[in-house]
Amino acid sequence: MEPAFAVLVGLFFAVAIYLMLSKHVIRILLGVAIFGNAVNLLIFTSGRVMREVAAIIPEGATTLAGPVANPLPQALILTAIVISFSFFAFLLVLAYRAYQELGTDDTDGMRVAEPEGEPLPPIGY
């Protein structure tokens, strides 16, 4: 089981990184979306994987007995999901506005702030 899961995580990472290394904003965007999944799965593995033992205290008991899924990575991932969702939404809108303003989705073409071959500003006070 574990090797297969590891392959999944590794491949998600590889795909996400390959997409993020692209010049085009949309591919970067897709890459970020997959990257979020990949990171969450990686965090998930740190708690080991176990089936059908959710960290929910049964009716009438006050603590959990026996082996149980690790709740800490889960709580971390819940936070991570929200943050990666926010990040993704922000990136999407930024890409949209950048495309509208600059007319390109190629990051190499976005050169308003730092034009290529810009002359040096004057030296001295």
Partner: protein, 973 residues
């Protein structure tokens, strides 16, 4: 009054006053002056109240904990020396405020001026009464920052900006040095407490780190006191308003440097290193400052160089390491403050009344302003060291010290000659100040007719000049006791016998004074003609200015070198940066693995489940094809992306993480909707025509990126594998949560309890991020709508309209209006169902999978469905969704719930839980965590809906204008 309260009030009052002052109307000169003057006077009175206790006990202290684990306490400590400076700072502060009331023009924005001035005063007071060296450095830096703001007050003036920046750069660098030096001292002594440091003199001087600590501390003090070779910032700082100059040059800023040298004098002085560094800086400043002052044409320039020279005198006195020298130094600090403040104020009045400070244009002002002229003359005489004035007394003491032999060296042998020479120069420039400004022919070409200033503007000068005279004639009866208190607190049992008499008989110092006076007058007579013709600056070395060197260095360092490093190493493109980041992360992860060999021996591998593998394989396929399709078919990539997300979701569900699965599912939905909305506005990729030729560079880039991606992915895969298969330690962080979740958190869903209770603060931060992102998205899109004609009607709608046109019995737009009618009705009916489901998810969250976040997303999805079903206008005509209010109320509720715990004396976000029997619903957990979760729900609903609506609204303008256009067409028809 209690000493504790008193000291804290002295430090806090000016800052409170500063905040108040900033709130006044821009032209409220009078009320600002009342406030600032009142604060200064209050500090002065507080200091006066403290005096008896200081005489009796030596020092008063106030100590409160600040960062006890680091050995840092907020210690305030006022001994005689600190008292003297507190009086100087607050007293001169009061006079400067009074003067500034008349100096500032009604057009100047005075709230800023008085706010900065008061804050500067507070920083200065805090600095002098700090009882902890680190605290002292903090106030020290504050004085640098506020002096920067004060010097640059007239920021429309380039000179003011440059002067302010230079002052900040120099004193800031010095301040950093001082901080490190103080940390070294703290390391040597084992405490930052001033009392303990002052008691550890021998320990510090004998330590190996003494020399580095000394050099760093002196870097701080010498830059602050504008001592050679850091003197050049001071003349440039004269671009400040004159009241500020008067304050900086007299009781504050430059005095801070010599204050600290005197403060640490008992522990740092007496070594050859101290003697050489401090002595050289002092002597060079004394001579260079006095010499340069002669050749200035600007009144304030002359005074600024004279300040450098007089501060050099004080520094040199401190360098000698003899107690008498220290006494003279402290005495001269007072005297210099008195005459220099009055001279700056007089220069300000001259500038104010004539419109110029250029001595070549001024002359004969005595007949217009006799009283000011007389006052300025007395003050100049004090600066020159004329008998019966206070400057004379401390100068005599300086001469007496200069002729003493302290250590056989060049510095020592030359001291008397340098002293006489510098004094002669002082006489020359003082004489020039008086002669060229007040005597000689009437000035021509002035902008206005000069006259006496208002009485209260002249009052501070009168007061200070009177002080010069009184101290100069009866020193022992006036300043004597206070000076003694200050000296004792610095020197302790080593306090020597000294006499403050005016007449000591015919001694060598008296002869030196006489020689300096005569030589100065002769020099002035010789130079007078030349000075009025020449350019500003001393002859021959006029071009050699430390300021120019400094600017050169700055340009080379911060511009040329920085640029060349950037040109060589930097990149302005995103991809190389990302690539570097990935590679760096890869290497960083590889290092510990290669160092700490992985033992793959004790692996536990569970047996394989075919269904799982199938799901994962399809997940992988989805991800890989999404990457492939990203280039050609965006929509397909999007759907495949959803597939990858779904496989993650199922993985969570099967591996005992129901909360994650639920959240992942809903977030995946909202993400897809967002992308669908956004894709319409993003560029379509048009496939290139003709045979594809991929350049070699592109091919190389692809292979390289592929290699990096595979390597990184492989690494992470191995990491995940090792993590999953290595044995679990018996006790983990999670055990704590598992044990306490129900007992202390009152919830059975441990993950949810962690989020809303144990780590509630994290969750608050996380949802705040979400809120901020939503508002940013809103701000990015709100004022921006694409022009109507730039939006092409989607292909599908165009086809539908074409169909309508072709059919005789249909109007254009009919098909669109009926589009997806059945699903639309279902979606509308689903609205209440989803709301109920969301409520259910929310209520059970504490005990079973669910919670505020999931419920929020579900609710947001309900709203979005309505938008999708019926369009923006239809929904907004019926529903008033106020997402920003949702966000605001949610944040408020979450924060208030957290603060509610304070009412019961618990820390922020402590929860209370109880089960409540509700009719029909049954036993419901009603923890305060539920209220917090309700806040989370509000934020999530608001943020998600806000983002989606903002994107959806992008098309409304196009539709609206299109409708207006069709309506117009119909009317025409």
């Amino acid at each position: 009054m209690n000493g504790d309260v008193l000291l804290i009030l002295i430090v806090v009052l000016p800052f409170v006053g500063s905040v108040l002052a900033a709130t006044f109307r821009p032209n409220a000169r009078n009320s600002e002056a009342w406030l600032a003057g009142g604060v200064a006077l209050a500090c002065l009175i507080l200091a006066a109240i403290a005096y008896p206790a200081i005489v009796e006990h030596g020092a008063i202290r106030s100590e409160s904990e600040w960062l006890p684990t680091l050995g840092l306490n907020f210690t305030l400590r006022m001994d005689g020396f600190a008292w003297l400076f507190s009086v100087l700072v607050s007293g001169f502060g009061f006079l400067v405020v009074l003067y500034a009331r008349y100096y500032m023009s009604p057009h100047d924005p005075v709230p800023r001026f008085f706010a900065f001035l008061l804050a500067f005063m507070g920083a200065m007071l805090g600095m002098v009464i700090s009882g902890n060296l680190v605290l002292l450095v903090i106030f020290w830096e504050l004085t640098s920052i506020f002096s920067f703001l004060l010097i640059g007050y007239w920021h429309h003036n380039a000179g003011a900006r440059d002067g302010a920046r230079m002052a900040l750069t120099i004193t800031g660098i010095g301040g950093l040095g001082l901080l490190v030096g103080v940390l070294l001292i703290g390391h040597i002594v084992g405490s930052y407490d001033l009392d303990r440091v002052l008691a550890a003199g021998d320990q510090i001087r004998e330590h190996d780190l003494y020399v580095p600590a000394l050099i760093l501390i002196l870097l701080g003090t010498l830059t602050k006191s504008a001592q050679f070779p850091f003197h050049f910032w001071l003349p440039n700082a004269m671009a400040a308003p004159t009241p500020v100059s008067a304050y900086l040059h007299s009781a504050t800023m430059v005095k801070a440097g010599v204050f600290l040298m005197a403060r640490l004098w008992p522990v740092l002085s007496g070594t050859p290193e101290w003697f050489w560094i401090v002595g050289f800086a002092g002597m060079a400043s004394l001579l260079v400052g006095a010499f340069f002052a002669i050749f200035q044409h600007d009144l304030k320039g002359l005074l600024a160089y004279s300040t450098i020279s007089h501060l050099g005198l004080i520094t040199m006195l401190l360098s000698l390491g003899s107690p008498l020298g220290a006494v003279a130094a402290i005495f001269h600090m007072i005297n210099h403050a008195t005459f220099k403040a009055s001279l700056f104020m007089a220069a300000g009045i001259i500038d104010h009344e004539t419109g110029t400070r250029d001595m070549r244009r001024l002359g004969g002002l005595f007949r217009y302003m006799p009283i000011t002229a007389t006052l300025a003359m007395v003050a100049s005489a004090a600066m020159a060291g004329v008998p019966l004035l206070n400057g004379f007394l401390s100068k005599e003491m300086f001469f007496a010290e200069a002729i003493e032999t302290h250590a056989k060296s060049v510095l020592d042998t030359s001291a008397p000659y340098v002293a006489v020479l510098a004094s002669a120069f002082a006489v020359t420039y003082s004489l020039r100040f008086i002669h060229t400004v007040f005597f000689g022919p009437k000035p021509t070409g002035l902008e206005r007719q000069p006259h006496e200033p208002p009485f209260w503007m002249r009052f501070p000068i009168q007061f200070l000049v009177l002080a010069c005279l009184v101290v100069g004639t009866i020193p022992a009866l006036t300043v004597g006791p206070f000076l003694h208190t200050a000296v004792i607190s610095v020197l302790g049992p080593n306090t020597p016998f000294y006499s403050l008499a005016v007449w000591h008989g015919f001694t060598l110092p008296l002869l030196m004074s006489a020689v300096a006076l005569v030589a100065g007058v002769v020099l002035y007579l010789l130079l007078n003609g030349y000075l009025n013709r020449s350019e500003a600056g001393p002859p021959f070395i006029r071009r050699l200015q430390a300021q120019r060197i400094f600017e050169r260095v700055l340009v080379v360092l911060s511009w040329k070198w920085a640029r060349s490093i950037e040109a060589r190493l930097g990149t302005r493109r995103l991809q190389p940066q990302l690539r570097l980041l990935v590679v760096a992360a890869f290497i960083a992860a590889l290092l510990p693995i290669s160092l700490d060999d992985l033992s793959l021996t004790s692996l536990r591998i569970s047996e394989i489940d075919a269904v799982f593998v199938l799901i994962w394989v399809s997940g992988i396929c989805c991800a890989v094809s999404a990457a492939y399709q990203a280039k050609y078919h965006r929509l397909a990539a999007l759907i495949l992306l959803g597939g990858a997300g779904l496989s993650t979701c199922i993985t969570f569900a099967w591996f005992s993480a129901p909360d994650l699965a639920l959240t992942q599912l809903l977030v995946e939905i909202v993400t897809t909707v967002l992308l669908l909305l956004g894709l319409r506005w993003l560029p379509k990729r048009i496939e290139e025509e003709g045979p594809k030729t991929v350049s070699l560079g592109t091919r190389f880039r692809r292979v390289r990126d592929f290699g990096i991606a595979v390597a990184a992915g492989g690494g992470v895969g191995v990491l995940a594998f090792v993590a999953m298969t290595s044995p679990v330690p018996l006790e983990t962080v999670a055990s704590y949560y598992l044990e306490k979740a129900y007992v202390e958190g009152g919830g059975k869903n441990v993950v949810n309890v962690i989020l809303v209770d144990f780590r509630g603060f994290d969750t608050l931060g996380e949802v705040s991020v979400l809120a901020v992102v939503a508002l940013t998205v809103f701000a990015l899109l709100r004022r921006f709508r694409p022009a109507a004609d730039s939006i092409a009607v989607p292909d599908q709608q165009r086809m539908q309209n074409d169909f309508d046109e072709a059919e005789p019995d249909r109007k254009v737009g009919d098909t669109i209006a009926d589009y997806l009618l059945v699903p639309a009705v279902i979606m509308q009916w689903a609205f209440p169902v989803i709301i109920v489901l969301a409520t259910y998810l929310f209520l059970r969250g504490h005990d079973l999978p669910g919670g505020g976040f999931v419920a929020g997303i579900a609710m947001a999805a309900a709203f979005i469905l309505q938008y999708m079903a019926a369009g923006t206008r239809w929904v907004e005509e019926r529903l008033r969704i106020l997402p920003v209010s949702w966000i605001g109320l949610g944040l408020l509720l979450a924060a208030l719930t957290g603060m509610g715990a304070w009412l019961f004396g618990y820390p922020f976000l402590t929860t209370y839980s109880q089960y409540v029997e509700l009719p029909t619903v049954g036993a419901t957990p009603l923890a305060t965590a539920l209220l917090f979760d309700l806040g989370v729900l509000g934020i999530v609903v608001g943020a998600t809906v806000l983002m989606l609506i903002a994107l959806a609204h992008q098309s409304t303008r196009g539709l609206r204008s299109a409708r207006v256009a069709t309506e117009a067409e119909q009317e025409e028809a």
